[in-house]
Symmetry: C2
Subunit: 223 residues, 2 copies
């Protein structure tokens, strides 16, 4: 079966891509520039796709909808330069300011359109249990409803695959280590500097996941 | 209440905009360039928005996602130059080739993201009963599922307004005539030439709607 993987360049989608390939799926990957502050992750997505032999512009599409983020999806720390990225734990209520309005539905909708055009049977996303507290569009019932909307809105049915949706990030790191996923190419930090800042919610969560998994962390953190 | 109207530049969304303003909604409009063959309709959307005093780039956003259509949503007569637009009635099975994969979910998702960012309570689309035969993403149950996905995927609830969803196009023309909607500025033809071709499904449906409504048709058709 063919599957379209939404590849952000983060740790979770990097392991998802490794996992889909390992399971024998014929993989297409799609990466979105939605005007995110940490567009450094897009470079990571390109490197990860290259690592796995995907072909830029063909089996790996980079889709620039940065104007959508900049003109329409304002108010989030990830799309509004004037809103600061909060420090602290990824699941803290303060992280709500990093929610981008309707982000996953936008990305899923476009990825699904491509999947249908390619006669792919599925779209896969690397959301995990740690996302649920803050991001409503990472919860199981959102994906169930979105899958139903996709089924009703098109002549073909697509499966929305979210294999890590009940996993901790530590479990994803363990799985990635087994698959020899290129963790060092992936990017988590919301600040999007030269190195991972080590203090923002995603850095805290990333570092903690490696520790809990007992897997050496190849990430260079600023602090 | 504030509402985001998806304005294609076609007849239905032109009347929808007129109707929303007449009902006292504070209106924002959004128009998508998704690489449609008949991008002539975008010029119509700009003229219609101007007619109603909307402000380009501010209360009327033109969003260019033509690369999404060109790179991802291939196989439709509306996005693939090599696929011809069929002639005949709008409800003919042959019109299926004009279906663009997941088009309404993509546009609704982006419009909804903007609506949430603006604290709008609703997104409105001008779909009508004549669309149901060929376009699954114009049917009531699709919009019900999409509204549910939007509710579950965000911290605020949005209403997806489709006031014409059970109306014939003739009823929309009648309503538009009462509102003095600028029919002459709107565009239907899928061929997208200088004039309406008069032969494609949307031209046939447009002409028929004026005749059935008993409203003078200001459209200049090629044949």
């Amino acid at each position: 079966m063919k599957v379209v993987v939404v590849l952000s360049g983060g740790l979770d989608s990097t392991v998802l891509l490794a996992s889909a390939l390992e399971q024998g799926f014929e993989v297409r990957a799609i990466t979105f520039d939605y005007g995110q502050r940490h567009n450094r992750e897009i470079q990571s997505a390109i490197r990860v796709a290259h690592h796995f032999g995907l072909d830029p512009g063909n089996t790996h599409k980079l889709i620039d909808i940065s104007h959508v983020g900049e003109q329409l999806l304002q108010g989030s720390a990830l799309t509004s330069p004037s809103v600061e990225v909060p420090l602290g734990h990824y699941a803290d209520p303060s992280m709500r300011i990093t929610v981008v309005p309707n982000r996953n539905m936008i990305m899923l909708s476009i990825a699904a359109g491509w999947a249908i055009s390619l006669s792919c049977g599925a779209v896969a996303l690397g959301v995990h249990a740690g996302d649920h507290a803050v991001y409503p569009d990472c919860r199981p019932r959102f994906f169930a409803a979105a899958e139903e909307a996709l089924r009703l809105g098109n002549y073909v049915s697509l499966t929305v695959m979210t294999p890590f949706i009940d996993w901790t990030k530590a479990a994803i790191v363990k799985h990635g280590a087994e698959l020899k996923a290129p963790f060092e190419l992936s990017w988590s930090c919301y600040q999007g500097g030269e190195k991972h800042c080590g203090k923002c919610g995603t850095c805290v969560e990333r570092r903690e996941a490696f520790q809990l998994a007992g897997v050496p962390d190849p990430t260079e953190y600023f602090v």
